[in-house]
């Protein structure tokens, strides 16, 4: 049995930690017991299901197009998730789809184009999953931040338009601010890696018996890939949303903001 093969007994043991969380909830009267049980059960079922699916998809004989279909499905689910988490953003699912697609194409294109990893279903699916999964939060954050900026600073944006600036020029300072806000958490995470916390991919590899030096190199590549992906998705969202918030003749569309009295 390798270090990673924990078996059903090991799994059962790990669930004791869920019991600890439930115990804390009861003790502190947080009222989260049902949510914790539901979340843990759901995660278990989802992971078991995905494990079966991955066993099929990651088989060495699995053709590459299966990985492509898997990637498209992941992007579709991420679009749906982003749309649900930011319903106030006009056209969010479509924008998110463009952003995730761009991030996947660029990140995977670089990694496979430079031969960092071998191109096959076994590598495309997990790397694609990391690109998309790790970009969702930043994607939602940048979109919500842009809407918030354009609602609270509508007067400023319109004052810039009234000075004869194009929509792009008028929007730029606010889009830039939103991108910075969304990127900073990922930059901080990247800076802290290895010192403050050991990321999941590395821990997983070490537990699975990989040499720590090799695990570190894989993790570094993954971290850089995620950083690039987050930068790509936030920029695509900012550019796309910046365009959607204006008409073709450089007028700012109405967002959910009461009109000024006239």
């Amino acid at each position: 049995m390798s270090e990673a093969d924990i078996g059903l007994l090991g799994m059962a043991g790990a669930t004791l930690l869920v019991a600890v969380a439930i115990g804390v909830s009861v003790w502190q009267q947080l009222g989260l017991e049902r949510s914790l049980i539901w979340a843990a059960a759901r995660a278990g079922v989802q992971l078991v299901a995905v494990g079966f699916a991955l066993r099929l998809a990651l088989d060495e004989r699995t053709p590459l197009f299966v990985a492509g279909i898997w990637l498209i499905a992941m992007i579709g689910f991420a679009m749906w998730t982003a749309g649900n988490r930011a319903p106030e953003v006009p056209g969010m699912p479509m924008l998110a789809g463009m952003a995730f697609t761009a991030a996947a194409v660029i990140s995977l294109g670089v990694l496979f184009g430079l031969g960092v990893y071998d191109l096959n279903a076994r590598t495309v699916i997990p790397l694609g999953g990391m690109v998309i999964g790790n970009s969702i939060s930043a994607t939602v954050l940048v979109a919500r931040r842009i809407i918030d900026e354009f609602q609270t600073r509508r007067d400023e944006v319109e004052a810039r338009l009234a000075l004869g600036l194009s929509a792009n020029d008028a929007a730029r300072p606010y889009l830039r601010s939103a991108i910075r806000t969304a990127l900073i958490p990922q930059i901080e995470t990247t800076k802290a890696v290895g010192i403050v916390f050991l990321p999941g991919a590395m821990v997983g590899l070490i537990l699975a018996g990989t040499d720590p030096q090799d695990a570190v190199l894989v993790q570094a590549a993954v971290m850089y890939m995620i950083l690039g992906s987050v930068a790509t998705t936030t920029t695509v969202i900012a550019l796309g949303l910046g365009r959607r918030l204006f008409t073709d003749d450089d007028r700012l569309i109405r967002l959910a903001q009461p009109d000024q009295p006239g």
Partner: protein
Amino acid sequence: MVNSAFELAEATTPILHDLNLEIPAGQITVVIGPSGSGKSSLLRLLNRLDIASSGTVSFQGVDVTGIEPRTLRRDVGMVFQRPTVFDGTCAENLRVGDPDLTDAGLVTLFERVGLDPELIQRDARTLSGGEAQRLCLARTLATTPSVLLLDEPTSALDSDSVHVIEHFVRSFVDDGGTAVWVSHDRAQVKRMADHLVQVVDGTIADSGAHDAMGHVHDDDNLWLDSTGTAPFTNTPPSDPPAEGPAT
């Protein structure tokens, strides 16, 4: 020869309807009317921040939909009710209007609106309300407009700032410019208006030379503040200061 700055024919928006109006060039046209009647919306039609869903709006005889919006807006400058300064110094604010402004140009603009040139490198967010509004006026002037749209620019200012802005706008028009000024202030209208437009319920109720529309000053309901309960007051000293701002 065109002597109208703007002509509106059956112009309609979600807020305004059937606007038929001529705004003369080379004069101060003051737009009056109750809160929420559509005065600000009328101004926004003139520089294409809003567009008419039907009817036409023309500037100097040309339908505004045929004028490139950025070109129109640089020629038809707008000052909003609340001072909207941008992050950065006063100089950086002015250079949003004209990135090529020289240091001498900055000083000239400051002097035109009665601001102390020593404020040029100051963070614009630290200005008082009156200073900030004058900065916004100077920023609008940086694009060398021939028309100024003024959306109650003095409604929240101290009396000195009100006087400086009124004095500047009169000079601007005397030098050949056109001003369209939304105001709630009866005393200010009496001081400033050459031409009057009365907006009620989203359409033009009356318009004409100020001299021929003295009756509007007798209708107290026209001059209520935004709460609709009290007369608007924001009257600067009747005597102008000994030294007016440079124009």
